[in-house]
């Protein structure tokens, strides 16, 4: 057994897998836990806040509680309508993170399918499909999202209202209540759909590149030789090998979607009052900057929470990419 005598300079351990690489990346781990804390706080804390904090009140522009003139009830102060900023930040985080996650999943479905088909088909089909991606990449797609939302906002409100009335007529209380409660949040649906629809390009390119490599490997040829059909090869053999890289780019899509959503809300074309998102809070904060009487908390806290969360998401995504896609460089 000549192999038993290992030469001292030969490394005999198993090569590190991606998760181990990731766990050793301190920054990425820290960012992960930060995001968990923010997400949990956004989901849990508003439930336990007293009801009077959640409502519009007389006390507008109250500074944070530790500043002069602050009230202990409003931890981070209040805005023009006397709404508690802490509460608004957390519900805004719900909206922003939720829209980011769901729209990223929408983009995954579209981009994953597109890239898989393009890569697996190869040849002319692939060339054409990728040329389309290139073209779409140079179109300012956010313009279309804005026009799309403006065009379908009215119809969508009508649809929800119709659903509410239908629930009322049929005595389906929960349908009526749900549709009625959803009307202020209607733009969220449109945002999720349209942002998911414009964010799939990177995902398609990545998946296609991986499929191009994977489909030439021996195990794919073997399963084809054993008579497996294209779809089942894609599903059983290609997809599992793609999952980590897809997770990586999913993580990087979320901050991109959050940024777009906040961009639209900042311009007044996204989330509207009474619903809030980080973008709409920033818009409120930016409107009250003036040299004389600074309402700094309305700008500082949303900006702080949003930029740290986006940073954390990007650092985590970068860490995932280093771990699972080491050859790629940006």
């Amino acid at each position: 057994m000549p192999d038993a005598v290992a030469t001292p300079n030969r490394w005999t351990g198993t090569p590190p897998n991606g998760w181990q690489v990731l766990r050793r990346n301190r920054v990425a781990v820290l960012c992960f836990w930060y995001l968990v804390v923010v997400a949990l706080a956004a989901i849990v804390v508003p439930v336990f806040l007293p009801a009077e904090v959640k409502m519009v009140s007389e006390s507008s522009y109250v500074p944070p509680s530790w500043c002069e003139g602050g009230i202990s009830r409003h931890l981070l102060g209040t805005d023009v309508n006397g709404q508690d900023l802490f509460y608004r930040l957390l519900t805004g985080a719900r909206v922003s993170l939720g829209v980011g996650l769901v729209a990223a999943l929408v983009s995954l479905v579209i981009g994953g399918t597109y890239g898989m088909i393009s890569g697996y088909a190869g040849g002319r089909v692939d060339g054409g499909m990728m040329r389309l991606v290139d073209i779409l990449n140079s179109v300012p797609s956010l313009l279309f999202v804005m026009i799309f939302i403006a065009a379908f906002d009215g119809y969508f409100t009508d649809a929800l209202d119709g659903l509410r009335l239908w629930g009322q007529r049929e005595h389906w209380g929960w349908v009526e209540a749900w549709a009625g409660a959803m009307i202020p949040y209607k733009r969220i649906f449109l945002l999720v759909l349209s942002l998911g629809f414009i964010q799939w390009l990177t995902m398609a390119r990545i998946v296609r590149g991986q499929v191009l490599v994977l489909k030439e490997l021996a195990f794919v040829t073997a399963s084809r030789a054993m008579g497996q059909k294209g779809w089942s090869i894609i599903w059983k053999h290609l997809w599992p090998n793609l999952s980590t890289i897809v997770l990586t780019y999913l993580t990087l899509t979320i901050p991109a979607v959050i940024r777009d959503e906040s961009f639209l809300s900042f311009l007044g074309l996204g989330i509207e009052d009474p619903a809030a998102s980080w973008g709409s809070l920033l818009k409120d904060g930016a409107q009250v900057i003036n040299p004389l009487d600074s309402k700094w908390w309305l700008l500082a806290f949303p900006a702080g929470l949003m930029s740290t969360s986006l940073l954390a998401l990007n650092f985590l995504g970068d860490g995932l990419r280093d771990a699972f896609d080491p050859r790629s460089s940006d």
Binding site: I147, A151, F266, D330
Partner: protein, 305 residues
């Protein structure tokens, strides 16, 4: 070469036509049409729609609009009284071009320089720090940096003017604000691409000839490493364009972005489509230039006409 350029040009025209038609159709399909908010009687509304050529089936409206467009007529704005779309856009376009152009130059030049320095001093403190800052700048969008810049440099420190547009000091803050994320992205792209090239054999040859690091990188590596950066210029132009919406709104610059946003909010279909025509024409032209430039720079590319 000529056939390639012609083909690209034609496909650009197809994209342009598609973008314009889609925009127009979307902008006239708002519920109740563009005159809904004016609370007119049915007869008055029909009259106004007829005057504005917005009556009849949507395809027909589009057809009439495209016919006007082919004659070079962008029609009139429904909200700016007595102004044609061409006049409104003509007033605002220069501001946007100055802002976008300067941001673009800052991002491209600054980004390549930063990436070059980082690649030269790989793994040094400078490299790590600049790449950390770059990732931060990519993550934080201009609608956060914008108001913060205004509050800090404009109001607190009073270094730069916060309003107005036209002079160089007034241009500094908005264009840096707009350029920052792209500068950071270009820096990362340049650094990584330079590092890839650095390990090539011909780089070792260049060093063996006795070139120092900086010269070798600048003369030999840069020629190849700049290619991904140039590819990114096309999409970057599109992003700078939309990014300028927020910057225009934060710094109160009366540019094309504000026209666009207002046209959406006021349901002004001709103005909206006119703005999109200008935007897409600019972008198509720019992408076309990038494509041609790319094929000139990269000798490995064979043109399949």
């Amino acid at each position: 070469m000529f056939a390639f350029i012609l083909r690209r040009f034609l496909s650009s025209l197809v994209v342009l036509g598609f973008v314009v038609s889609l925009t127009f159709l979307l902008s006239i399909s708002q519920k109740g049409g563009p005159f809904e908010r004016e609370k007119l009687t049915a007869a008055a509304k029909a009259e106004r729609e007829k005057n504005a050529e917005l009556d009849g089936p949507k395809w027909w409206q589009l057809q009439r609009y495209v016919k006007r467009l082919l004659r070079g007529d962008l029609n009139v704005s429904l909200r700016y009284q007595n102004l044609s779309v061409a006049e409104v856009l003509g007033q605002k376009l220069p501001n946007s071009l100055i802002l976008g152009g300067s941001a673009f130059v800052i991002a491209a030049v600054g980004g390549v320089a930063m990436g070059f320095v980082a690649a030269m001093r790989k793994d040094s403190g400078l490299d790590v720090a600049s790449m950390f800052v770059a990732l931060a700048a990519i993550s934080i969008p201009s609608f956060i940096t914008g108001p913060l810049f205004v509050a800090l440099f404009g109001l607190k420190l009073g270094w730069l003017p916060i309003g107005g547009f036209g002079t160089i000091p007034q241009l500094i803050m908005p264009s840096i604000c707009l350029a920052l994320p792209f500068l950071a992205y270009v820096a990362r792209l340049t650094r990584n691409s330079l590092l890839d090239v650095k390990s090539q054999n011909y780089m070792r040859t260049a060093k063996a000839k006795g070139l120092d690091d900086a010269t070798a990188l600048a003369r030999h590596a840069m020629k190849v490493a700049i290619l991904p950066v140039i590819t990114y210029m096309g999409p970057m132009a599109a992003y700078v364009l939309t990014g300028s919406f927020v910057v225009e709104s934060v710094f109160n610059i009366s540019g094309l972005g504000m026209v666009f946003v207002n046209a959406i909010q006021n349901t002004d279909p001709f103005l909206l489509t006119g703005a999109v025509v200008v935007y897409s024409a600019l972008l198509v032209f720019f992408n076309f230039v990038v494509d041609v430039l790319y094929t000139f720079l990269d000798k490995r590319i064979q043109l399949h006409a």
